[in-house]
Amino acid sequence: MFTEEQIITFKVQRFDPERDQGPYLKEYHVPYTQGLTVLDGLYYIKEKLDGSLAFRASCRMAVCGSCGMFINGKPHLACHTQITELESTVLEIRPLPNYSVIKDLVCDFTPLFAKHKAIKPYIIRREAGEIDNPTREFLQSPAELESYLQFSYCMKCGLCLAACPTAATDRNFLGPQALGQAYRYCADSRDDGLAERVKEIDHAHGVWRCHLAGACSEACPKGVDPALGIQLLKRQVVLRAVGLGKGRKLAAVVPPPSGQAKPRVEAPPFTVPRAKAEIAAGDSRS
């Protein structure tokens, strides 16, 4: 199906709010090369065919989360999507739904970031001093790490909100991204912030708006599984409400092993201190 002479048709949604009445699809033809991603195709268009095309991208390796787009009816990272995996020579590329479009494929993530901020995405402890000016370190077992690690891979690409049917009609819904992150912190054994976060998540536009369509987990390019996080968060909220939270043990703070002297590590040969030391010692190799 895909050979080097193959021409891939990119139907890209164009929309300039200053000039256009509404969005329209524009067709571009990009020659297929082995390993061509959707983002490569868009760069080809921008460089060779139409410099006015606007899209957002940065790292090209599914780390930054900038190039989320609606590709052939599903949200994908353009850099993480091979043309071959779409199994079609005609691509329809639109901006992510459930956001506002700024231009062409660029959408406004302000609501996403505001919701993320609303759930207090940081470790909350009753004794704040230890967080601001740490003197000791928290003990956490590998099993405790596993309980939230998966959710900490979120890079705020916003694909989950584009996939979510609830976010399609309720723009105040916190959404899988924010709620997944709320669970990431609530599940952290160092964190004691559920009581504080409950105010932000336990309402009609919070966890209870999720009805487990599961599209967020399917769309997530990092395997974060926000749907699982939201359901586990619901369980935490319910257990807390009925007073059955089994008194989760908070990670203990222990002094760092500073009793022993710091092991002396010799500076590598190319560093300034060692060079100086060698000159001082009368090393005349040079």
Binding site: S100, V101, Q150, A163, P165, T169, A213, G214, A215, Q231
Partner: protein, 143 residues
């Protein structure tokens, strides 16, 4: 420059209905909402219909005569089917929304396995149960 001119791109109800190439759960989500809405409408009609009982025997018999037509028997089965689906799928959702049957969080190793895939055996079991109930109630309506 027109500051802040943006075009809203929310999918609206279309986003519920058109589940595209997503998994079955997204379709169940829509069916759950649809059947829930249908059952509320049915409840209102049912209350209105039974209120005719207050207007005496003759009116009541007249209304009941109207509902004796076969089309209402079919509609009654549709209500029953909606009820069966809504109740059993709702049971699945209650169990899963409390964090059961979804498995534990794990390191995301490509190809990612989501909690949705882990709950599928349970979902299919509920699906079989729904079909059994549908068939039994259909038999009940026909006989």
């Amino acid at each position: 420059m027109a500051e802040g001119r943006k075009r809203e791109n929310y999918l609206g109800i279309k986003g519920w209905v058109r589940a595209g190439r997503y998994g079955l759960e997204r379709y169940l989500y829509f069916l759950q909402r649809l059947t829930g809405f249908g059952l509320i409408i049915y409840l209102l009609i049912h209350l209105y219909e039974t209120s005719f009982r207050l207007r005496g025997e003759v009116t009541w018999e007249g209304v009941m005569g109207l509902f004796d037509q076969p089309v209402f028997a079919v509609l009654e089965y549709v209500v029953m089917a909606a009820f069966i689906f809504h109740a059993l799928n709702g049971l699945r959702l209650v169990i899963e929304e409390l964090g059961f049957a979804l498995g534990k969080p794990r390191r995301p190793v490509y190809p990612y396995e989501t909690s949705l895939q882990r709950q599928r055996p349970f979902m299919w079991a509920i699906g079989v149960l729904i079909i059994v109930f549908l068939v039994v109630s259909l038999y009940d309506f026909l006989v």
